[in-house]
Assembly symmetry: C2
Homo-oligomer: 201 residues x 2
C-alpha cells in the first residue's frame, strides 16, 4: 500500500517539491507507530522531521484526523492480513480457531501503538463522510474473518454470539496486556484462549 520510497533519508538537494509527500508522511507515521509505544504523530513534528513546512501536509490531508485515519486504515489492513494468514495456516476447526485468537493477541503485542490507534479512530468514524465504506470495509473483513473461523455445527445466532465472545476475549486480553495490567506470557495467553468452550450454547 505504501510504495517504496528512497530510504536514503532526506534528499540532499531538497527540491521545492517533495515528490510524494503523502506517502512519505504515512511511512514516517507508520515507522513511529511500529517503533515507539507512544509515538508523536503531531502534524508539526512530522513535517519538521520530513524537512517540510508545517502546513505542507494540508495539501495531502484535510486535517490531522484524516492523517490518523489513513494510518489506522493501513493498520487495520495489516491486522486483517495477519488474521487471514493465521486462519489459512492453522486450517479450520477448533484448533485453527484458537490459533487465530492467539495471533490477534500476538499482533497486538507486536504493534501496540498501531492497535490503539485503530480502535481510537474506528470508534469515531463519521459515517456521513465522503467515503463511509473505506474504514468500514476493512472492519467488516476483520469481523467476517473472525466469524469465518468459527467451529461448524452452529446456528446463525450461535455463530454471532460465539464470534463476539471470541473477539471480546482476545481484544480484552490484548488491551489488558498493552495497558500493563497483565504481563505478556504466551503460555498464559494460550491457556486463557483455550478456556473458551462452545459446547453449551
Amino acid at each position: 500500500m505504501l510504495p517504496n520510497l528512497p530510504m536514503s533519508g532526506l534528499p540532499v538537494n531538497a527540491p521545492y517539491h517533495h515528490g510524494d509527500l503523502r506517502a512519505a508522511a504515512l511511512q514516517m507515521g507508520m515507522e513511529r507507530l511500529e517503533s515507539q509505544e507512544q509515538p508523536d504523530l503531531g502534524l508539526r513534528a512530522l513535517a519538521r522531521d520530513l524537512g517540510v513546512s508545517a502546513t505542507a501536509l494540508y495539501r495531502h490531508f484535510p486535517n490531522k484526523d484524516a492523517l490518523l485515519d489513513a494510518l489506522a486504515l493501513e493498520g487495520l489492513n495489516r491486522l486483517g492480513r495477519s488474521q487471514a494468514e493465521a486462519a489459512t495456516k492453522a486450517g479450520g476447526g477448533r484448533d485453527g480457531f484458537t490459533e487465530v485468537g492467539i495471533t490477534y493477541v500476538e499482533w497486538a503485542v507486536e504493534h501496540p501503538a498501531l492497535l490503539r490507534l485503530i480502535y481510537n479512530r474506528v470508534g469515531q468514524v463519521d459515517l456521513a463522510a465522503d467515503d463511509p465504506s473505506v474504514m468500514g470495509e476493512a472492519l467488516y473483513q476483520l469481523r467476517t474473518g473472525i466469524a469465518a473461523t468459527m467451529p461448524d455445527g452452529m446456528s446463525k445466532d450461535q455463530r454471532a454470539a460465539a464470534a463476539l465472545h471470541a473477539w471480546s476475549l482476545v481484544h480484552g486480553l490484548a488491551m489488558l496486556i498493552l495497558d500493563g495490567q497483565v504481563p505478556y506470557d504466551p503460555a498464559m495467553v494460550r491457556k486463557v484462549v483455550l478456556m473458551t468452550d462452545f459446547r453449551d450454547c
Copy 2:
C-alpha cells in the same frame, strides 16, 4: 470521597480564595466525565469554567497528569465499589460470578469516558512516584474482587487463568461496545458472558 461543596454554582462575590479549589476541580472533572463521551479535561478549560485563573490549579496538582490520575483513581474506586456491591448482591457461585461480569460491562456503558480514563492512566502509572501504592491499591482490590468471585473447586493456577479469562472477556466486550464496534444489547451481553465455561480447565 469528594466532599459535598455548595452546589449553588460559582460564588457571587467571588472571593480571592476559592475555598476548596481542588475538590471543585475534581467535581467538575467528574461531572464532565459522567455527562460527556469525550470530555474536555484541559487545565485551562477547567479553570475557566471554575472562574479561576489557569495556573491556580497548579497549587493543588503538580501537573495535568496528576489531575487526571486523581480522577482515574476516584473512578477506579467507584468501579471497585460497584463490583463489590454486585458480588455480594448476586451471592457466590457461578450465577454470582456471571452477574459480576455483566455488571462490569453495564458500568462501562454507563461511564464510558471514566472507564477509558482509568485504563489510559493506569497503563502509565509511574511506579517510582511518591506514593506508588495509591492507584495500585485500588487496582489490586479490583483484581482480587474479580478473583474472589471465581467458582470453587479450582487450583490456584486455574483460578488465576479463569480470572484473567473473565476479566479479558468483559473488558474486551466493554471496550468494543464503547468503541462502537458492537451495539449495546443487554441480552447479548448476558449470552456472551454465559458462554464461558470452566469445565475443561
